[in-house]
């Protein structure tokens, strides 16, 4: 069979359209056979085909040994294929790498320049630490190769070596530096070195400060824009360390900005000025101001330039970097930045949006938000418009087919630049989401500090609901079995939370908020807001339902809302939304039925019972809902409704004769009281944590020794109550055995409400003049109920008079007065002062801006601030959070979750290029020097010591020989000599230091070997320094480790001995 070459493979692939997979598998089978062939040509061809198929995702790791075979071919053409295959297919775990080492060494030393280039290009892809160590000796000479092309590749290869084996830089860096400093070096080699230095630079900028003069020279010489860009990048990491550079750099950078025609260089100059902190450093000086102005005007020009989105993009990036330090300067250009919000390109929009969020103020908030809203609205229609099939290339899933048919297209020269098909892109969902999030962020910033029109804001929120992207889980919509964990908060929830927030904080617009909630909830308007089933906006319904329930009395049409809530489709909603619905239903019911003034007529009775029947009908199936929250609420309210139904039907109605028939108390009093309580106020997240524990509070001490008995007694007491109340109590009251007395008496003795008091509302239940005792008790009970609820802060407690609690009542009635319940310390929330200051705050920070003056009729909104305690700012919480966040961030980074494709260079940060350090005198390198000096010194001393001992030994031998024969005659070998030394030393100092002496010898030998390897250049001068310092300079030795010190001690002992 005649084997295919690579062309035939590709041609075959192209002709087997439709069944490429089969063809590929067939080809792979052939390759497996061919690659085992003895014919090198065939082997190389097979390998080439494998490399081609690898590009399409067909693993070829099994062929790694064959790769090696082809790599070692003497023919260049074949060798090249082998190296290409190695680069493309070798992975860190490829075992043949060990075998490749010698081949790489051999090819590095090849006389043929193209052959040398092969390993130079391949080594960066396959290198590991142990290989680096052994290849280093072969690579270093290539730095002096006659061809610049080889030299520059070697430099980069050495850099990659250094990444896995930092020690590489010790011998290599001095040579590379010499190349950089050499003015006659080929410019492309210099450029390559600058690129490498730029990569190294940000890791250890202090090591490269000494290069600044040469780099500066290269920068000002001009000529190579690529290199200039890199030099500027490098300088931007150096300037923070060397402030003097700022002054030096300003003139050339300014002149480049003014004169260069290359946009990339211009941009990098500006970027370097920003990133290197030159703007801050030069602030105040005339040059500094000039350069800042220049940069910003150039950036502005980049933003407004027509037809180059790339410049707009990078200009926005630069603006974003300035804005943290010079927000004022940036906001001068907000007009052009705002333009970018509507850019056709989403990347640009996103970055503009980031900037705009920081520039928002009371004056431009509405325009910006309107602009964004318009964008969302108009783009909302895009998906339908873009049904054009040519435009949805993104819909392809995966890259499977390999055969291509449109040859004409492929033959189109790729020279002509990008085709133009300008078209407004449909907004992707994540962009939509981020726009909505940004709008909310802008509006709610600083507790609505920039907001001047809340009616408008509510309108915006309602509008946003329509713009919410459909939730990703739309497929599972309606499935009741969606686990709660999957319901991650989406943007609709955030919109809902804002609606709720406004309703709670801004009293003035509460009716508007309630109306908005009604609009959202009404079933017949659902199509407007949630066009498709599973639309992401559904999350808002939970908050809307809460607002509608909580402020039910403000709803324009509570009955319609209740009807919508009770609609059978509601049961299909998400569990969290449904739970909120369930909570709202009885509240609405209360508003509709609890009218106390009205007569209890037959008509009223029938509407009430009808309503109850509908609610019961809705709740009944939900008692089996899989979500426990929903189930529990359904069960609770179902039974409440049944009670209500009973009460309604049992209550006598007005029979003809004009006498007043009272509505059932359960409906007018009991049920409303369930939902009325303190006004809901926003509470700072940290407030609860700040509640101080009273000093006298002892949580371990029993409050009442004979509590058990009391409770039993209380149980017994209530037995006399009638049956219906028993049931009521069972459902309504807390499960604890503590019984309260407020509800069980069917307050029959209640007088008729005097006069025309206002409509019953659970929000201001206290205003209802019930009989005083009952009211008191009710309030007390409520306080008891909400005692553990962080959202209910009882301002009355601050007064210090502890009102009687239900428990108190019981105790009082059963035990008389002997137990002083008032003595039980109750924590006091001192809110008054804080509250006042909070209430006043929102008005204060708003500056009397020009805009406000123009529109004097603007309403003044009072925005309730968060309630909190003590210090006022909730730093503890935020600090705690941020520190936790940063901790997780740091652990996640250090925890090895490094990005794909990342080349870790952290190893470099540990290594100091010490000769650099010597000149710069950086603190870190200073230490290094001291340590090295100490080492050198010790080394020199040790060598002398060894020499001395050797001599001594020889002398001793001569002395000894007559007396006692050594085993093997003369001392020639160092090793033998060492043994001798030991015996010698032992002879002289019998007891303590003998062993140490032997160790010393071994140590010295090891040292010497290490030193030899460490290299040629730098050691020499340091050695001389070390020797100069050698004469017993003990001070220099202080930082040396104690272990070494001990050894030195030994040495001196020996000295003494001699």
């Amino acid at each position: 069979m005649f084997e295919k070459d690579i062309y035939q493979l590709i041609r075959g692939l192209r002709s087997h359209k439709g069944n490429e997979r089969e063809y590929i598998h067939e080809s792979l089978r052939e390759c497996r056979k061919e690659i085992k062939s003895q014919d090198m040509d065939q082997k190389a061809t097979a390998l080439m085909k494998l490399v081609y198929l690898e590009m399409f995702g067909h693993d070829m790791s099994w062929a790694s040994f064959n790769v090696l075979e082809v790599m070692s071919s003497p023919k260049y053409i074949q060798k090249r294929v082998g190296y290409l295959a190695a680069v493309q297919s070798f992975r860190p775990d490829t075992e043949v790498l060990m075998l490749a080492e010698n081949l790489l060494k051999k090819d590095l030393n090849s006389p043929d320049k193209v052959t040398i280039a092969l390993p130079l290009g391949a080594i960066p892809h396959v290198i590991n630490a142990s290989m680096a160590n052994s290849l280093l000796t072969d690579l270093l000479p290539r730095l002096a190769h006659s061809l610049p092309a080889i030299r520059k590749k070697t430099i980069v290869t050495l850099y990659r070596l250094a990444l896995v084996y930092p020690e590489t830089l010790r011998p290599a860096w001095p040579k590379i530096k010499d190349r950089l400093l050499d003015e006659h070096e080929d410019p492309s080699v210099t450029a390559a070195i600058v690129n490498v230095v730029c990569e190294l630079g940000w890791r250890r900028p202090q090591d490269f400060l000494s290069l600044a003069p040469r780099l500066f020279e290269l920068l000002t010489a001009g000529g190579n824009n690529w290199m200039a860009i890199k030099i500027i990048k490098l300088f931007s990491t150096l300037t923070p360390l060397e402030p003097r550079l700022v002054k030096k750099l300003l003139p050339p950078l300014t002149s480049i900005i003014k004169t260069t025609p290359a946009m990339s260089l211009l941009y990098e100059c500006i970027n370097g000025i920003i990133q290197g902190g030159i703007m801050e450093a030069a602030e105040g000086t005339t040059e500094g101001n000039e350069v800042a102005r220049l940069c910003l005007s150039k950036l502005r020009a980049m933003l407004v330039v027509e037809g180059d989105p790339n410049l707009r993009y990078v200009a926005l990036l630069a603006f974003a970097k300035i804005t943290s330090s010079h927000a004022g300067l940036v906001s001068q250009h907000q007009d052009v930045i705002l333009e970018c919000i509507d850019d056709a390109d989403i990347s640009i929009r996103t970055h503009a949006l980031d900037l705009v969020v920081d520039m928002i103020n009371a004056n431009n908030l509405q325009t910006v938000v309107e602009r964004l809203l318009k964008q969302l609205r108009t783009a909302g229609k895009a998906p339908e418009a873009a049904a054009d099939p040519t435009e949805d290339r993104g819909m392809h899933d995966g890259i499977v087919p390999m055969a291509d048919e449109d040859d004409e297209e492929m033959q189109a020269s790729i020279r002509p630049k990008e085709q133009k098909t300008a078209q407004a892109p449909p907004l992707p969902d994540d962009y939509r989401t981020s726009v909505i999030e940004r709008i909310l962020e802008m509006c709610s910033r600083e507790t609505y500090g920039n907001m001047s029109d809340f009616e408008w804001y509510i309108g915006v929120l309602v509008d946003l609901v329509k713009q919410c992207p459909s939730s990703p889980a739309s497929g599972s919509f309606g499935s009741l079995h969606t686990p709660v964990a999957k319901e991650r908060p989406n943007v609709a929830d955030a919109v809902g939370a804002e609606l709720l927030n406004v309703a709670v904080r801004v009293k003035a617009v509460r009716p508007d908020a309630a109306a908005a909630a009604q609009n959202l909830l009404l079933f017949d308007r659902r199509q407007d807001f949630f066009p498709s089933a599973g639309s992401g906006g559904q999350g808002v319904l939970a908050s809307a339902a809460f607002v509608a329930g909580e402020y039910a009395s403000m709803l324009p049409d509570p009955e319609a809302v209740l009807t919508s809530l009770l609609h059978s489709s509601s049961t299909q909603l998400q569990a969290s939304v449904l739970a909120s619905y369930l909570q709202a239903i009885p509240k609405l019911f209360t508003v509709l039925t609890s009218d106390q003034q009205g007569q209890w007529t037959a008509a009223r009775r029938s509407t009430t019972t009808l309503l109850i029947a509908r609610i019961v009908h809705f709740l009944e199936p939900l008692t089996l809902h899989p979500n426990l929250d929903v189930q529990e609420r359904a069960v609770e309210y179902l039974d409440l409704m049944r009670l209500a139904s009973e009460a309604a039907s049992n209550q006598q109605i007005d029979s003809e004769g004009g006498s007043y028939a009272e509505p059932p108390l359960l409906l007018t009093q009991a049920i409303p009281s369930l939902f009325s309580g303190m006004e809901l106020n926003p509470v700072a997240p940290a407030a609860l944590r700040k509640v101080p524990r009273p000093e006298e509070l002892d949580l371990d001490a029993p409050i009442n020794g004979n509590l058990q008995m009391l409770l039993q007694q209380a149980d017994y007491d209530t037995d006399i109550d009638d049956a219906s109340d028993e049931v009521y109590k069972f459902y309504h009251e807390k499960p604890s055995a503590v019984t309260t007395t407020s509800h069980q008496r069917p307050a029959a003795e209640l007088r008729e409400p005097p006069g025309a008091s206002k409509r019953s509302s659970y929000q201001d239940a206290e205003t209802e003049p019930l009989d005083r005792e009952a009211a008191e008790r009710k309030r007390a009970e409520r306080r008891e109920r909400y005692k553990d609820d962080p959202y209910y802060i009882d301002s009355e407690r601050a007064s210090g008079t502890s009102t009687p609690t239900p428990m108190h009542n019981i105790l009082r009635s059963s035990n008389g007065e002997e137990l002083d319940v008032d003595a039980i310390p109750v924590m006091e929330l001192k809110l008054d002062s804080r509250e006042v200051s909070d209430r006043e705050r929102p008005a204060a920070p708003r500056p009397p801006s020009a805009n406000n003056k123009k529109k004097p009729a603007k309403r003044h909104f009072e925005i309730a601030g968060d309630e909190t305690l003590g210090g006022g700012d909730d730093t503890p919480a935020s600090l705690l959070l941020s520190s936790r966040a940063s901790k997780t961030a740091s652990t996640s980074r250090s925890g090895g979750k490094k990005s794909l494709l990342e080349v870790d260079s952290s190893g470099l940060s540990a290594l100091s290029l010490s000769d650099e350090g010597a000149r710069n005198g950086g603190r870190q390198s200073q230490l290094d020097i001291e340590r090295r000096q100490a080492e050198e010194e010790e080394m020199a001393r040790a060598i002398r010591e060894v020499e001395r001992l050797r001599l001594e030994m020889q002398r001793a031998q001569e002395r000894i020989r007559p007396r006692d024969m050594p085993e093997d005659g003369t001392v020639v070998r160092r090793k033998k000599r060492r043994v001798k030394v030991r015996s010698e030393v032992m002879d002289e100092e019998p007891a303590d230091d003998g062993g140490g002496g032997g160790e010393e010898g071994a140590e010295v030998k090891k040292r010497r070997k290490k030193k030899k390897r460490r290299g040629e250049g730098s050691v020499a001068d340091e050695k001389s320094v070390g020797e100069k310092a050698a004469g017993g300079d003990e001070e220099a030795d202080v930082p040396v480790k104690t272990k070494r010190k001990k050894k030195r001690q030994v040495t001196f002992d020996d000295d003494d001995a001699v």
Binding site: Y7, I10, R11, Y52, M55, G57, S61, V87, Q88, F90, P92, V114, P124, A149, K152, K153, Y159, R160, S188, A192, N195, W202, W226, K230, S264, E268, N271, N310, Y313, V314, L317, A344, D345, R393, G398, I399, P401, D407, E408, E409, M410, Q411, A412, S413, I414, R415, E418, Q419, T421, A422, A885, T888, A889, S892, R893, S899, L900, L901, E902, V903
Partner: protein
């Protein structure tokens, strides 16, 4: 530094993949298709910078902080679209975005010089040359040469650059189409 250079056509079929770190073949393919999805969705009027694909996206928590460590991680995806081909460069923040665009331009011009009016078919059949040109410009993720002449000269020094085999294209369109350009 540069982390990867990719070339694929309008249908997402790879024409060159070069990763400067060792990655599993399957991961490479995933990255390729993620980037293709991103790039294909962009209209031609938009800028040449892509958001990071999900595979390369940094962990959520550290998105805003810029620590020195982040300089190692790829943060920039630059692309250019020529006729039927996309050229992608993935790099860290130490590279200049605008300079990378120029680098891609140099690469394409070098190919054009070598193949004389290069088109996708040339690259399909001579993907080895594609690698050779790249090797003259980037070694181990560091740019070593940006001069067009030197790159071309370096590739030619390795031997003759083959043209695409004659009669490759179907329908006899072969000569006329590129002769005229």
């Amino acid at each position: 530094m540069i982390n990867a250079v990719l070339v694929f056509n309008n249908n997402g079929q790879p024409r060159l993949t070069k990763f400067y770190t060792q990655l599993d073949t399957s991961v490479q393919q995933r990255l390729l298709s993620e980037i293709f999805t991103l790039v294909a969705a962009r209209p031609s009027s938009s800028c040449n910078f892509l958001p990071l694909p999900p595979l390369l996206a940094p962990p959520q928590t550290s998105s805003t902080t810029t620590s020195p460590e982040s300089n190692d991680a790829p943060s920039l995806v630059t692309y250019r679209h020529y006729a039927t081909l996309y050229f992608i460069v993935i790099s860290t923040s130490t590279e200049s975005p605008l300079a990378l665009l120029d680098l891609i331009q140099v690469y394409v011009e070098a190919l054009d010089r070598l193949f004389e009016n290069v088109c996708e078919l040339d690259l399909i059949f001579n993907f080895e040359t594609l690698h050779a040109v790249l090797a003259e410009m980037i070694v181990g993720g560091v740019v070593i040469e940006t001069g067009l002449d030197k790159v071309v000269e370096g590739v030619r020094a390795q031997g003759r650059v083959a043209k695409r085999p004659i009669n490759e294209s179907r329908g006899g369109l072969s000569q006329g189409i590129w002769a005229g350009r």
